[in-house]
Symmetry: C3
Subunit: 665 residues, 3 copies
């Protein structure tokens, strides 16, 4: 990609009256140069089985081309027409809750052959029609694809075959998965019960992994079809999304983003986040760091919020801050979901750039300034590259395992991930994401490992080796506890990583008014209560950074650091306050020799940087706050690109509320 | 009706031992002159298919007639016998949750022909038998009839035909209902999917409207049968009820009371309300104003609480206060559910006038004073007529639409209705209820319009015209937002009423620590936080009564008033505190020239009035409080009817706790 | 039984690697002398239909015998193999929620003939094989057996026949159960509807009683089979459990423990309880008193917690305190669930004596001291006998009835039971449990009767007689309200017991900021709010101990005591604070002449005592607290058995935190 894209999702099909020319006029006014179309409207494009009508696609493509606006065409397979479900009710996924009902999107059994037959036909019809159109720059396959909990008899049958292919014998499965428990032992393949009712966490987690593989297969199959028509210069992408807690919160439980992104040309994502007083930029950074890590380069933000919900309507300046925050993480495209606000149905209050009245409004007006700056600075800001020395190791397997074995207070894997990520973000330490199977550990100096609950011996041994060779690791509690089929290790905990961590434990308790004490704790506030979990650690060779402050458990260590070979391994045996997490991470960053001037800045000032195509360092500074924020620019002289002003190293700068600077060094 | 009725529901069938003579003796002691029977006991009256046994009806009619007590006979169709469900399981409604189970009442598909066949037969058998009995003064058809969410395949089929009859073509439906969204477009009638799973708010709301029409049809059909037997002087009524929140809270979501009351001779209702320290009289007034509005005259309170629940057992004086409060709203009958407390089954703790021991108790003893006063004052108090100049416009369509598109904090349409009604009540401003289609707007001087979210252009234009012609309107937020099929207007908001209101807005947000400021706000307390919703209003010609008090949204108006033609339109763009609502309403009442001496009274003193048959003004004053309350009687000299004392205009009167005066002017 | 048993549940089948010899070595080190095996692993012992493999049973029996450890063998019927459900899906219970899913334990229809056939076969195969093995001392049938809400068509059919056998005619049933209500009257046996949907509390409660009878039948059937093989000196027991609120809370709703324990040789139970700062010993005492009462002698604690959950991991000293607390209630066995912590499946975080690493840990190390003391003191502590003069009368029927007719704040029957039991415990008054049908009332001086809501006339008359003859009774509210089919009595309340209680009431309300006043109330604190329920009592002959403190209800009595014949009946018409309950109970204990020196002790010091086989009094003193506790030993001189020290009557003793003394008088 050789320029920044500023885009919107556009639904000609939803318009209450003819709007195309006027919409394009308003888009041009905002320097919007890309639209995403067609992914949601199968029933419009194929009104009856085998009857096709692509007129809305055709006219939008033609009009956009005339206006110089690029188009990304989506395959419309994530929402199926009524006729299909009437003809073939079994295209709906059967889940643990029984058969589905028609109405919503994302309700199909993505392995159903009728669904696959019709999907392939509409994909071929649509993509073959549009691929040679000069407006089209790329494709999106399906949308926010997941497995929709499909678990009907056909899926169960495939799972049993997968189990036999993978583990070969039932004796081995019975042993690995612990099926003797509660008479769950399976002694003949024909007896294999539906996993829907299982209480066996190992088996349930394996089924979840199998379901995630269905997503990989489905997406790879779609890409292979689209690739038959794709022309040079065009790309295929996917709109991944994250664990949803009313916004993009953490690792997606239902999709292995790393494996699923494999067949795509470029990674794409949607990122939604709290706004107004709750805007911190964390989700923008989290989603960006994750998506950039998938294929190791720039990525597309295919959807993010314009006005969106009543609790998200941005304050003046926030839309602008958000857009440049995406670029600062390495995005080459920022696209809103969506252009206009929909007048019927379900997402009526998920507003677009335009309100239902299609009139200019404060948010649209702010978008005009963004579009103009994207256009003007595109050559400086596109293809920002990063070489991070810190990585966070995440795992779908650990996430699923902790859904089966929940923390006592309901906190989940992603809470642990975020408790670490968020503090790293506030320290202005940029990072990549990696999986335990990553062959590239040695590219990093510091690896953060949140709750790596279920993981193979091999991955843990590689982490030991990484430390021995001079790397630094920060583990949270529960890391290394179980193997890859969620069988708890029968060695002393924390299992294999005990070697690098220099600690052991055999008991863990629920914290109840337990604080911390010891060298790490300087103020009473810092020693405040730990949450969720506490392992009663005994150091074998580790240094104790903090002990528990409790009448009965006060002899046990809570946080330790161990020198092992040429590196260090830090272990956090509980969920301390954010301040303590930040302190522990700061220590690890220093140990790793990565502490720099940007780490001295105080949140809500956020620094992100990278190298542009011309090899220049680009430094972004953001103020995520309602108040102005001053800081000293700590890098060599440069130029602030938005204003054009020169900036000297050591110069004091003041950011407006929700303001930003982009300084080219 | 030429006298007040004081009544109870009476279940001879439920008695644990022979009670009839003793019950009648005790009723007579309490001056009870009406009982309601037979609506709940089909299985007793038709113990087997086609076998009838009306002995309990016969003996009760005879005994009551002997005692001079009138009888209202109910058709027993709202609870079906076991034999019917065994023979025809499909009489049970299929809902979104699947098939029903036998046991409770109100579980039938009210369109099922087997149910209708048996219903017609028992109605004809029962009513033909009793209609010539001299004890019978009227009939109630069914009981608290609703559609019970019936949505099985047969109902779906009828709905599809209704859609074709109403909208003619699928193209029109697709456009009006926005079905292109998420591939929901329907391109052939055969493909019309079950509405059970729909995510389309327009379609879902239309189905709810269709379900309400089933109730209208069912009740009209019952009335037509009963009318064949009804003799001169007898009436047919229905026992309507309200949205239930553990008590009668607001507009009934499942029934269009206005349309459904059409075939009846007189409107009937049940009203249940908080009691003890929480007794305010609001629900009595609300339910009464609504029911009186249905057919524009006196109505029957067919059920209200005697002892009822443990949290409702009335304090001394409350039962009396409640009874006269019903009369003050225009009721001609106050009847308790029920006479005795039931010894088995489900409503054992919903106690009647008598406890399970059938002995006189404090509540029964208080009823004796009420019965005596009803008898003594009947000629003065019966047929109280009202000519209100204020109306509240309510809409089942708006209610349903806001169930689909909920307010962020979970508040609903009825919360908005009640937030306005309650303050009007406390201002002692009496009102009627009207629907948007009402042809009689011009009879009122002030119309209050809560959250009229889904409504036709025509109705809004009539409201504009009403203002232009000198009327006054108070709108709450969300009024006029969507059309009658819940499609958001694509004009500038607040749509058509913008003309009268003189404001526009294109953004709305969720309030988060947002207060009010401006001329309306005199004290810090008054400016306290708004709730639920806030529209960012910009006046075009309106005067701003209050702005939002917030760093980012402080330039936007929150409450405005606009002079338009000869009238005014007030617009409340958020949900302010009760004090502010009261202030805005007081202003509108004054603008409308309706401010009088009763409005100067301070709640908990409540004034209600009307004109009796002799043309005399009757003024009720109630004290809804545990403490005595003094006030100055503001009308011309009169007589307090309960005591017989003369009262002079301007005289200071003191109401006992939970006390009342009835002053004939 | 002639010695104390210290045991664990042992699952050779679950071991991740060969452990048997090492496990036995570690057991011996802890003086563990009994293991319980085989109850959970049917699918291991019968891997395919008719194929048997008892190798893990054989090898464990042989090895335990070699080590001198006794074995209790369980019949493995509470968790069924996958093959059985594949062959016969209808072995799964159909409940009100529909058909079941395979996976968990305790999901069967315990009346299904396929299930019964296979159960009988595995029981005969297993028990015939092991009964002559010298390691085997006894058997457990099934585990924590309940009816699992089985309510499918076959169970419904049996229920209808049971109704006809029990009540003979439908007319009688209609009258007793009040089926005329809401048209539920049944007029032909064929019409009898499934009870699943019933709203009739009388019918629903009767069905629950019927379901409990299925449990009795099932267990008696299993015992009869095992008895065919049982050899002299061997016993058959059952592992009963209690209402589960995350721990053993109260009377088991689904099983009539008294009736179900009938066929067993000795009563067995599992008891789980809060720990750490929340350890009080109440559940240990409650479960022990109940289980001891079932067959009137010593009992087995077949399961209790070792490490268990993260919030239960015991503080140092607690495991020891718990073990001796069981003995103090009359247990002859204390066994942990379970030896090791399971590495897969569902109960991975319900840890055993050993952690997943099988290493010695602090809890195991404490167990070693317990085992040694059990062995050393076995001859002094085994077969502790008690002769209590206080009983608590409990009733499954009352419990079920109050599930149908709930208290307003959600409190249940067991909350009432516990509110009384807990204060009796803190007064160090030991008690038995009896049912209303008990023929042995006269053995007691004081009977506590919590919420005896549904009960026959006969039982109430016996209680009146008990008082007349010099006994003392304390009733809580709701006692005597309804008959044995949950029909409310139509006499004045509290029904038949009015005679002994000397009070009446016809109204009851929900307390809302209502305190108490009167002679019982000495401090403001004591008069604090009552909860859940308040009956407005009027004394006829009773003395009023407390009135309600409330503007409207202040004339009514809340707590009364009546002298009747030679005894007294105390009536508590509400749920007062724990302090007031304690005061009322203390008064009743004094009236009954049972107040002694142990009653002067202050909780958290707990005293329990009994007579050992040699006829010596054994006094246990426990300190349920994190702080040391001093008290004066109030009995004649004796010897503290753990230390061997002499103790003089009147000597001041200091208990360590969570410490205990055992003094032989």
């Amino acid at each position: 990609m050789n320029k920044l894209l500023y885009g919107v999702a556009y639904y000609d099909e939803y318009m209450p009256h003819e709007r195309l020319d006027e919409d394009i006029r308003m888009m041009k006014e905002a320097d919007i140069n890309a639209v995403r179309i067609a992914e949601s409207t199968w029933s419009t494009h194929e009104p009856q089985n085998g009857v096709f009508d692509f007129s809305s696609v055709d006219r939008v493509l033609d009009a956009m081309y005339q206006a110089g606006i690029h188009v990304i065409v989506g395959t419309p397979t994530y929402a199926v027409p009524a006729w299909m479900v009437k003809e073939h009710p079994d295209v709906l996924a059967v889940t643990a809750n029984g058969p589905g009902k028609y109405g919503a999107r994302q309700i199909m059994d993505i392995t159903n052959p009728a669904y696959l037959f019709y999907s392939e036909r509409i994909i071929r019809k649509l993509i073959s029609r549009v691929s040679s159109h000069p407006a089209v720059i790329g494709y999106q396959t399906d949308n926010e694809t997941k497995h929709y909990d499909t678990a009907g008899p056909n899926v169960q049958l495939q799972f049993v075959k997968y189990m036999r292919d993978t583990y070969e014998s039932l004796d081995r499965i019975n042993a690995m998965f612990g099926l003797d428990y509660w008479s769950n032992r399976i002694n003949s393949w024909e007896d294999f019960p539906s996993v829907i009712g299982t209480i066996n966490g190992s088996l349930g987690a394996e089924f979840a992994k199998f379901q995630r593989m269905l997503v990989n297969d489905f997406l790879a199959w779609q890409v292979s079809i689209v690739n038959e028509y794709k022309r040079p210069g065009q790309f295929v992408t996917q709109n991944f999304d994250f664990e949803w807690r009313g916004y993009s919160f953490g690792v997606q439980p239902s999709v292995d983003h790393f494996a699923a992104s494999e067949p795509f040309d470029i990674a794409g994502v949607d990122i939604y986040h709290p706004s107004q007083d709750d805007l911190t930029g964390i989700e923008i950074a989290f989603g960006g760091d994750m998506t950039r890590s998938l294929k190791g380069g720039s990525y597309l933000v295919l959807e993010t919020q314009a006005q969106a919900f009543p609790h998200w309507t941005p304050y003046p300046g926030q839309l602008r801050l958000q857009a440049f925050s995406h670029l600062a993480s390495g995005a080459n495209m920022v696209a809103y979901w969506h252009w206009h606000s929909i007048h019927n149905s379900f997402e009526t209050y998920w507003k677009g750039l335009l309100s239902h009245d299609f009139k200019p409004n404060p948010v649209y007006n702010e978008a005009k300034t963004i579009g103009a700056d994207f256009r003007r600075l595109s050559h400086e800001l596109v293809n920002l590259s990063k070489k991070n020395q810190v990585a966070i190791m995440v795992s779908n397997e650990a996430l699923t395992a902790m859904q089966w074995f929940k923390l006592p207070d309901g906190k989940t894997y992603n809470d642990v991930v975020r408790s670490l990520y968020d503090e790293l973000y506030k320290l202005n330490v940029e990072c990549d994401f990696i999986q335990p199977s990553s062959p590239r550990l040695s590219e990093y100096k510091l690896i953060i490992v949140p709750a790596l609950y279920a993981v193979s011996d091999e991955s843990l041994e590689k982490l030991n080796e990484f430390v021995r060779d001079g790397g630094h690791v920060v583990y949270s509690f529960k890391s290394g506890f179980a193997d890859e089929v969620v069988k708890v290790r029968d060695s002393q905990q924390p299992g294999i990583i005990h070697e690098a961590c220099g600690i052991s434990y055999s008991m863990f308790v629920t914290p109840n008014q337990v604080g911390l004490k010891g060298k790490l704790i300087e103020t009473a506030d810092e020693g405040s209560e730990v949450e969720a979990w506490m392992e009663l650690l005994t150091p074998t060779s580790a240094e104790v950074l903090a002990y528990y402050d409790h009448k009965q458990w006060g002899e046990y260590a809570a946080i330790t650091r161990n020198r092992h070979g040429n590196g260090t391994a830090t272990y956090i045996g509980c969920m301390p306050s954010a301040a303590i997490v930040r302190k522990v991470l700061a220590g690890a960053v220093k140990e790793a020799g990565l502490w720099g001037s940007d780490q001295e800045l105080v949140f809500h000032v956020i620094a992100r940087s990278g190298t542009n195509a011309a090899g220049k360092r680009i430094h972004y500074y953001f103020n995520y706050s309602n108040e102005p924020a001053a800081f000293v620019y700590p890098h060599p002289d440069g130029q602030e690109l938005l204003s054009g002003h020169k900036v000297a190293g050591g110069q004091k700068l003041e950011l407006a509320p929700w303001g930003l600077f982009i300084i080219k060094q």
